[in-house]
């Protein structure tokens, strides 16, 4: 009994983790289903049909491609913009600092439905057509703040003495940035970029306000399909993305820990 009491937090943590992962397990399991009707809600019969033909459902791979494309462009742009803001906030004292902080915080404190709809009113007034460009603009906008937070956390831990040391040893400002500052901030920038990609890739609500019939992202495809029956391929892609994310992050961890061990 006391053993249970001592490990209470561990048990609670594991239970919560299971709660968080059960849907992924279900998604993986149902990717091997051969559903009876049009809804893939009940397990009928084991089948690898969807795995051997992941693009079998009409439009699914086009939407996936569009989502990946938007995700990459939006996360790169948001990472560039956000990293610059994070450096300004983390490295310089300047007037307008708290206003900047507020402006960075606001998009995170605004419901997506408000951001999506307000952007729609802007585009309506300016005559900007819905579609890929509109979606990109929106995604970059809501990703920037998250990148700023991730990079700023890292920049804050950097010792300014290291940059002074580089200058002292003859590195000009560009060399100092490329050889000292950037490599040291890289983990934060990578985390920010990954977060931005996942937010962009997964967004439905804001995208929906700015999409056109010719720009159906993957979440929009899933949403559309949920009404008329979700093809099993959606579950396949969901599982692959989950595993891919696990592999990417784990490899990153492995590389950095091996690099540390090598020199030991």
């Amino acid at each position: 009994m006391s053993w249970i009491k001592r490990h209470l937090i561990t048990f609670a943590a594991i239970a919560v983790l299971i709660y968080m992962l059960v849907p992924n397990v279900i998604v993986a399991a149902f990717s091997f289903n051969d559903p009876k009707g049009k809804y893939n809600y009940n397990f009928n019969e084991f089948s690898t049909a969807a795995w051997t033909n992941p693009c079998g459902a009409q439009g699914i791979c086009e939407s996936l491609g569009l989502s990946l494309q938007i995700g990459v462009i939006a996360s790169l742009a948001a990472t560039a913009l956000g990293t610059m803001i994070a450096f300004a906030l983390g490295r310089y004292r300047f007037r307008g600092r708290s206003a900047t902080n507020l402006l960075i915080f606001m998009p995170m404190a605004t419901p997506e439905v408000v951001m999506g709809s307000s952007l729609l009113t802007l585009f309506l007034m300016l005559g900007v057509p819905s579609g890929r460009t509109a979606i990109l603009i929106a995604h970059i906008m809501f990703c920037v703040s998250f990148v700023v937070v991730a990079v700023k956390a890292r920049v804050a831990t950097l010792d300014p003495k290291l940059e002074e040391a580089a200058a002292d040893l003859g590195a000009n400002p560009t060399q100092t940035f490329m050889r000292v500052t950037l490599p040291l901030a890289a983990p934060g920038i990578a985390a920010g970029a990954l977060l931005a990609f996942s937010l962009s890739f997964d967004d439905y609500i804001i995208t929906n306000f700015n999409a056109s019939p010719s720009s159906i992202t993957f979440p929009m495809y899933v949403w559309g399909a949920s009404a008329r029956g979700v093809p099993v391929q959606v579950y396949v892609i969901g599982t692959v993305m989950f595993l891919l994310a696990l592999i990417v992050v784990m490899t990153g961890q492995l590389i950095s820990s091996r690099r540390n061990r090598q020199v030991a």
């Binding site: 290291l162 002074e164 040893l169 003859g170």
Partner: protein
Amino acid sequence: MSEQSKGDLSLVALTKSFATFTAVHPLDLTIPQGSFFALLGPSGCGKTTTLRMIAGLEEPTGGRIRIGDSDITETKAYQRNVNTVFQSYALFPHMSVLDNVMFGLRRRGDKDAKAKANEVLELVQLGQVANKKPTQLSGGMQQRVALARALVNRPDVLLLDEPLGALDLKLRRQMQIELKRIQQEVGLTFIHVTHDQEEAMTMADSIAVMNAGRMEQLGDPATLYEQPRSTFVANFLGQSNLLRARVNPGGTDEMVTVRAHDVDLEVSREHLPDGVGDVWLGVRPEKLRLGESGGPNHLRGIVRDVSFSGVATQYSVEMPWGQELIVIQQNDGSNRATLGEAVTVSWAAQHGFALDASQDAEAGAELVDDHG
């Protein structure tokens, strides 16, 4: 850049002011090429600001900095042939020890960077850890990497900002000797910033004592200790007993008498500043003797505290007017006094020094920390 003419480092009216206070008042100082120089003072005295101005990391508000004939006041930190060993070492955590040491050479496109770096790592006895990351090394080793990283560039001036502050006492002693050895071996100008008076005296050829943004006194360690010119220096470098006294008229060319609390005391004329009447008469605790063997100056008092530390015994002797004098007696086999005993304290005329009485007798005393 390595062809830059070398020579003495001179600071001319070097000043640094911030919005609300002045960190360094106009400072004039010449540091001879090849010397081991210490800037000594309590924290906030302006010594680190001075160092950072020499390094180019802080822009002076006024004045010039020259090395030999060339004026480097306007040059950027990365253009100066001056390198720093930082207090926290500031080693690049993402680079190996070797890459850290090669960093400066690489910036100048030195083809022999690797060979030179390895050579310097041998000099600081770190050849075997060249491929490790700095975080895997002990504090003492990191300190030597920081030194090697600066040394390898053969700077005109090498700056050391409290380089031993993070090390424990034993390692610090060891590194003091090693730093001195390396400096003599490479023959570069070293400027060492420290708040530790013992460290400064052990290592430096000459010391500038700084206080509140001004230089109090400049000299070699022995002169500073034996003939402090201010109560701040007297208290900050070691301990001093300061007696309020008035100079008696007359005296000889060698000797003057002063009257302190109705007792006449002798002091060498050369240890008395010109034209002062009221003075603080100072004597170092180890110059005082219990008994009358110390010299012609005698004071009587009662032992109020005895603390034995092995190599010496420290007494606190209360004078009739309430002041307590510190006496340090070497453990040389002479008789030890006991608590409450009435004793005579004596010293020789040449062991005293007189300071202008307009100064605060406590200046600098509270700033001395005990890890020195």
